[in-house]
């Protein structure tokens, strides 16, 4: 843990978008673009919250090399990410998985909106009902009733 902190402190010092280094680049631009896309979702494990796309740390460099090699070998993004999570755990990916354990994480934002809108609807409905019961409304309703009553009155 202590070592991780020291490494983190060192790595945090000079942060430049390191992945664009021409010395590391793949010859095929399409493959390079795909690798960069993956880099942005992979955490530099020893850094302070940086992706391997940004970090100059030694480990980030190694991870970039691994990813680039796999991209070059024709592996898909899913396969590469599976390889990384097998090795380093879910922590290595910056996008949390859509899994049961992350249900609250992905669900709550939209749940809050749903709950808020539901509350607003309840309140608007209640208000309309209240409004119908104001004296003025009640009086109008009574008059309507009076006008209607004779029509249904069987007395002739």
């Amino acid at each position: 843990m202590r070592l991780r902190l020291i490494l983190a402190a060192l790595a945090g010092m000079a942060c430049v978008a390191a992945a664009s280094d021409p010395a590391e680049r793949l010859p095929d631009p399409a493959q390079e673009a795909q690798a960069r896309e993956i880099f942005r979702d992979v955490r530099c494990l020893v850094c302070q919250n940086e992706s391997i796309d940004d970090s100059e740390a030694e480990l980030a460099r190694d991870l970039r090399q691994i990813v680039r090699e796999q991209v070059k070998a024709g592996k898909s993004e899913t396969q590469i990410k599976a390889f990384l999570t097998d090795r380093y755990g879910e922590f290595v990916l910056l996008t949390p998985r859509f899994s049961a354990g992350n249900l609250a994480l992905w669900g709550v934002p939209f749940l809050v909106v749903a709950a808020g809108v539901a509350l607003l609807f309840v309140r608007l409905r209640k208000r309309t009902l209240d409004a119908e019961l104001t004296p003025l409304e009640a009086e109008r309703l009574r008059r309507l009733d009076e006008r209607e009553t004779p029509r249904h009155d069987p007395a002739k």
Binding site: M13, P22, A23, D54, F91, V92, T95, L120
Partner: protein
């Protein structure tokens, strides 16, 4: 001697804060004006005492008095004056002292400016503010004394992290803290209102200016921080969804929601409970931010003044103060009543939707920030929540909010006219569509999300202008009539329009920059060049330079377009001799609203230098937008109707 006097002043301030609480509460209970007045006097005195302590610490930094532990740990005699001054708040202890300075400052302001508040409410507000002051001053005095001496002073200090030695960052904390702590006034007002059991238009009228002031400061503070990250960290990004950024963003989102709900409470008497809830939440999130940033429970790129053990103390302070506030809320809020009714299509409904979406956005940021901790505590599994999560959750919520935004100000209170709003906004909608189509036609490569985002920015700007057109009846009434209406618009209206306009400007810049930025990197020999977008970047020379406390390689870069010179940049790679850290100083070329951003990297074998260049189109708008928003906030603040008490006096005269 000065340091001792400062330490003494700090203890005095603590005693005065305690007196402020006791006197104000006694004044309230006995309904005694002299006692309450004495409480206000104590508030003012506490502020002066903290200011004296702050001045003492600043003096120690300026004269490089290394017998003061904090100075020895965070300063260096070779540092330029500005950064020696800024060093005062560059450490944990110093920043907590700045926090206390702001807290007592706002307490003194409430005591001094609160003449128009009802007496009971004023006394309870001053008392609550005093209680917050007591808690944080006690923390500073007992757990984080910034003026402690060293028995054996070193000859030289350990210096401030070089990344922090930057003009924008030197002034960033004072703005940020003024914003964070400004929310304490709103918190105190909410507690006082709950104790008094009364929320009325006068109360909301009081909440709004304090929220506006704090919100504007926070906007400036966050923007300065983002700008600093943009040009100092050297990777061209300005927002990383990093825990420390999120910590400052959550109070901002809540304050934004509060600004809007307080309008409903003031004008229509509705949402009183919710407004009080937000008022409590805003400062709670400020304290949460202080805890997250200072404790280091979350790893962050910006974690500088971190201390885990004292983090626990901050967590306790947070839990106790927020816990008390919300318990009081749970107990008293049901008595507040629901206020006026409104139709589904109305200004009230629009503002409620605004609040729902902002609350959801805050919940998202909170959850994204804390979820790794929660998961690790519950199942022991470590996960990361990075930018992709926020892009998938926060962005759609905000997009929904921004699409609805221009309709809000055009809706009438109580019962709005949806058809009328559509009629008034169709030109704005056309303008938005035209902006989007223009982006689609002109900008390459074609990107759907970028085009939609640009259209959204256009929609916000056109919508804000449509609101002004509507208010002045431009193009419908005679020009003289429109002019009279335009000049007669209250400043609050201008403030709102500017804030919404600024948001549109920000969206344009943010979308354009993130979608269409171009990156290029090469290992260049001196005289070599690379292309980034339409620009040709040449490394003319690299010279060694010596700064006050660093050695650097300075690149001479010329930028040309179609063979014609555009500008010159001088990026540096600095080695700070004291700490041994390297930093890069970005070379920035401003081309209209766009930037050419050049970073000089390490020297490689064969005498080449790694040069990275970015073309960041419309990047200035990212920082200009929030600046416009903050100006809008300040203009609103100067509105006569909001100037404290004026409205009530006028009402009495009428």
């Amino acid at each position: 001697m000065i340091a001792e006097a400062g330490a003494f002043a700090l203890i005095l301030a603590l005693a005065l804060s305690i007196a402020q609480v006791l006197l104000s509460v006694a004044g309230r209970v006995r309904r005694s004006a002299p006692l309450a007045g004495a409480g206000e006097g104590a508030a003012l005195a506490a502020f002066l005492a903290v200011a004296a302590a702050f001045a003492a610490l600043m003096h120690a930094f300026v004269v490089s008095d290394f017998s003061v532990e904090n100075v020895a740990a965070n300063s260096h005699s070779a540092k330029p004056l500005l950064y020696r001054v800024a060093g005062t708040w560059g450490s944990h202890e110093g920043s907590m002292l700045l926090w206390c300075l702001a807290l007592t400052g706002f307490g003194a302001a409430v005591a001094g400016l609160g003449r128009d508040l009802p007496r009971g409410l004023r006394a309870m507000t001053v008392a609550t503010q005093g209680l917050l002051g007591t808690v944080f001053l006690a923390y500073t005095v007992f757990a984080s004394n910034p003026l402690a001496r060293l028995l054996t002073p070193p000859a030289e200090g350990r210096s401030l992290n070089p990344l922090l030695q930057d003009p924008a960052l030197a002034v960033h904390p004072p703005f940020l803290y003024a914003g964070y702590v400004g929310m304490s006034v709103v918190f105190s007002l909410a507690v006082a209102a709950l104790v008094e059991g009364r929320i009325d238009a006068a109360w909301s009228r009081w909440v709004r200016p304090w929220t506006l002031a704090a919100w504007s400061m926070l906007t400036v503070g966050i923007t300065l921080g983002a700008f600093w990250a943009y040009y100092e960290l050297g990777w061209g990004g300005w927002w990383f969804w990093d825990p420390v950024e999120n910590a400052s963003f959550m109070p901002w989102l809540i304050a934004t929601a509060l600004l809007h709900s307080a309008v409903v409470t003031e004008k229509r008497g509705a949402l009183a409970g919710w407004t009080v809830f937000l008022a409590l939440a805003a400062f709670t999130f400020s304290m949460l931010g202080a805890f997250l940033v200072r404790s280091g429970v979350l790893t962050s790129v910006h974690a500088f003044a971190v201390d885990p053990t004292r983090g626990v103390l901050l967590l306790i302070i947070l839990a106790v103060t927020a816990g008390l506030g919300f318990s009081l809320f749970a107990w008293r809020a049901p008595t507040l009543g629901q206020g006026g009714m409104f139709a589904p299509v109305s200004r009230e409904s629009a503002l409620v939707l605004n609040n729902i979406l902002l609350a959801a956005a805050t919940a998202t940021v909170l959850l994204g920030t804390l979820y790794p901790l929660i998961r690790e505590a519950m199942s022991g599994e470590a996960i990361s929540v990075g930018p992709p999560y926020f892009n998938l959750t926060f962005t759609p919520l905000m997009a929904a909010l921004l699409i609805l935004l221009p309709a809000g100000p055009l809706l009438a209170w109580k019962r709005g006219d949806a058809k009328g709003v559509v009629q008034r906004l169709w030109i704005a909608a056309l303008a938005a569509a035209a902006t989007g189509l223009l982006a689609l036609a002109v900008v390459n490569p074609k990107k759907a999300f970028g085009v939609l985002g640009v259209a959204l920015g256009g929609w916000l700007i056109a919508g804000a202008l449509a609101e002004i057109v509507e208010r002045t009846r431009a193009f419908r009434a005679p020009a003289a009539e429109s002019w009279r209406r335009l000049t007669g618009l209250p400043r609050g209206a201008w403030g709102m329009t500017l804030a919404h306009l600024g948001l549109g400007v920000f969206v344009l810049g943010a979308v354009f920059e993130t979608t269409w930025k171009v990156e290029a990197a090469e290992a260049l020999p001196v005289g070599g060049s690379l292309d980034v977008g339409a620009y040709h970047v040449t490394l003319e020379a690299v010279r060694p330079v010596t700064g006050p406390n660093y050695d650097a390689d300075r690149g001479a870069i010329t930028v040309t377009r179609n063979g014609r010179p555009v500008c010159e940049a001088a990026p540096e790679r600095r080695l700070y001799t004291v700490g041994g850290q390297t930093t890069s100083e970005v070379g920035l070329c401003y081309r209209g609203m766009s930037h050419i951003y050049v970073v000089l990297g390490e020297r490689r074998d064969g005498g080449t230098y790694l040069v990275r260049a970015y073309w960041n189109p419309w990047a200035s708008l990212i920082f200009l937008g929030p600046a416009i928003m903050a100006v809008g906030g300040l203009i609103s603040l100067s509105d006569r109707r909001l100037r404290l008490g004026v409205g009530r006096r006028k009402a009495r005269a009428a």
